[in-house]
Symmetry: C4
Subunit: 248 residues, 4 copies
């Protein structure tokens, strides 16, 4: 098995200038926005990414069928604009794996003609936020005015902040390849799946993309996701119990 | 040393269409059933699997002779049906190792003509179960009716469950190779070696295999295994004490 | 991605016989001294070092622009003497990574004609020190008199001490390549960024280098660094909160 | 850097049929006996072994000179019998590293004509032992009578015991190469450097080797080792404090 395996379901006509990353993170804000957009825009699954840097497990779906842990690439078109999405439920299990996986994500992006990446996430503040800001970072300074014009804030700059995992490395390693990177982080308590934060983030993102989408189902989607996460948490606890019982 | 080394004791005439995995896991249900079947069917040891992804240790047997940590492949024939078994006392020590080892298990399976894998395990519920169900998962949807007909339940489907380690990956990575995968998990508290759960599991498995075996020695075998595990636990504790005393 | 990537901003005329290492460590003494010297001597950034053995993250700077985690090589000239500096905010995330990164540092040193390395650090004693000594170690015995003449103490010798991470390995692996190595460790409590310890260390180092630099801004620089570290600590805590919220 | 580097100080005339391993372990019993024998027999250092699987650090000796972490091969001759020793202060930092290092140790053994390995260690029982037994394991059953005739006990056989790290793998992986392996473990509390246990172990080992050595300095040597370990413990604690102060 290679470190990373990418299976394309379609090879032709899947280029796009923009990739949006919405992998799991704080408050599930990025994931919530990306999943919502894919749904609203009618996304098509174009590739699956498997890796031995993901957790060594399968997920049992509602039919009782197992699915190998993977992340996915979706593609949408809206008003003649093509957008790719990198989504899924997993990040690397190791520090080195984050670098290796992100290089693979960037290989895919380059192959499909991506010139700009939006990395979506949450910005945890540990308390409830009435009007969540969308805190931002860019990997090339000239991108900043455009983000500010769309409502993104840079008030977090200069606070010694770091962006960990795929979101951060897509900007950092993307810059080496000349791919523009914009990280948008919805302010959130970090304790719940946060539809209010996602709402703010979706506003700024759509402004940057120059598209319009309906926001109304975000609240409901957040509740569904909260329930799904609760189930996974219970399964994780069962898994921990199991591991305590291994002989080896 | 390679990542994984496989030593075959015999090369010819060891093909079989079915492989049963019974590595250690919750309640030792899978291991108990696999060991019982090998014994009842008169299994022959056909291969040993060594790996640097196993714990770095040897086991001292009853003669005082050391055996390098390994898993084993057995082969049985019953009523003209050939069955392979993957058994042993160890799983990988690392996340990546689970992927690497499972790919090796599947290489062996493919080489020996295996078309279907049964992965056996326990399904921990944290409390005693009067009439243990055999919860199930499959890696291809069309396998489900056959499992249900044999008494397997899919009531666990849709609860966000995951199957970790070799059992899960045999289904997930096996599906990529076109090998059918059925995971059978006997409901169990998870706190003891559970012969009642194993009894239920054995019933469903034999129905699927179309063979009959005696169940009567399962209870006694469970007690022996409980004692062996107790010894290993004590040795593990001694090992922990030892590690605290290393200089390096 | 390779394990380690080195980007040179300039190829010619950057040789130097001496390299000073000031990576993060106890009391930030080594880092404080190295950063101070680069500033006072007007250092030029000549190379950046990236690696998958560093933490998988980017740092957001004061403009809101992300920078991939890296260490840096600076070059200064003073009184006709050329000096290289290895500085940055990161050490390896794994034990093996320390060896791999240090070999890369030594490859750079060898390519640039370095014959001697000064590894700077702190020597934590757990309590405040009125007059901090500069405790020392060398990788070739004949270097000791020169260090003692400059005010370095060897009173720590024979206490079973170890030097961990890049500082230690630059001496140990440097010796194999015939590069002289001198480790200077300012005595410090270890609880604060310690300008008094840095002051002592700077004195011994300048004497060894045969140069003079102003010490007056060390105090202010220590206060700035203390604040920067506080911000990073807060960001790290936010990161920990974030990781607790991952699904995968 | 390779995973493991072996430097020979002499190439010719260093063959020997026997290798004794005395790396750190419980009660430092094996190390104490091996170091004692090297001293009594006048051992010559013939090789050093470096590896990125050892801790990433250097040790500062009594002269203030750093030494890269390594293990060592010594060679002794007594009554026309040549014996090699594998000693040092370190074991691998990772599970995989134990396998990789042990294969290197066995490569050296094979190159030097070794036909039998004695792996020395302690057997921790958690309480003081008045008359310590020498518990034993072999990697080929036919070796057992010889060990019993020399006073080794096999009363530990059949208790589910495991032998971890280099001692265990030298027997397990050695057997694959046809090298005889005998593990001798002196019963010990595990809490102190145990000269009484070492005394028992030395008796059985010398009987097996067919040589005689003086035991009288074992007690003093144990006291010296206890002090050296205490210093290293203190240095380790200082190291832990240091690591807490890293930025990265």
């Amino acid at each position: 098995m290679d470190n990373v395996t990418v299976n394309f379901f379609r090879e032709d006509g899947i280029e796009a200038p923009v990739l949006i990353e919405g992998l799991p993170g704080i408050g599930h804000v990025g994931k919530l926005v990306a999943d919502h957009l894919i749904d609203e825009l009618g996304g098509e699954l174009v590739a699956e990414i498997y890796s031995l840097h993901f957790p060594p497990q399968v997920v049992v779906d509602e039919r009782g069928v197992t699915e190998l842990v993977c992340n996915e690439i979706y593609r949408c078109e809206k008003d003649g604009k093509a957008i790719l999405f990198l989504v899924g439920d997993f990040q690397s299990t190791s520090a080195e794996g984050h670098y290796i996986l992100t290089e693979s994500y960037l290989d895919i992006a380059e192959d499909l003609g991506v010139q700009r990446i939006y990395a979506l996430g949450g910005y945890g503040v540990g308390h409830l936020v009435e009007t969540p800001r969308v805190l931002s970072a860019v990997n090339m300074e000239q991108l900043r005015p455009e983000v500010e014009a769309a409502g993104g804030s840079f008030e977090n700059a200069g606070t010694g902040g770091v962006i960990v995992g795929a979101s951060g490395l897509l900007l950092g390693l993307g810059e080496v390849r000349g791919i523009e990177g914009i990280c948008l982080m919805g302010e959130t308590s970090g304790y719940i799946v946060d539809p209010k934060s996602a709402d703010s983030l979706l506003g700024v993102l759509c402004s940057l993309l120059g598209i319009e989408v309906d926001h109304t189902s975000l609240q409901e989607r957040a509740e569904d996701m909260e329930q799904a996460i609760e189930k996974i948490r219970e399964a994780e606890e069962a898994k921990s119990r199991e591991e305590l019982n291994y002989i080896g």
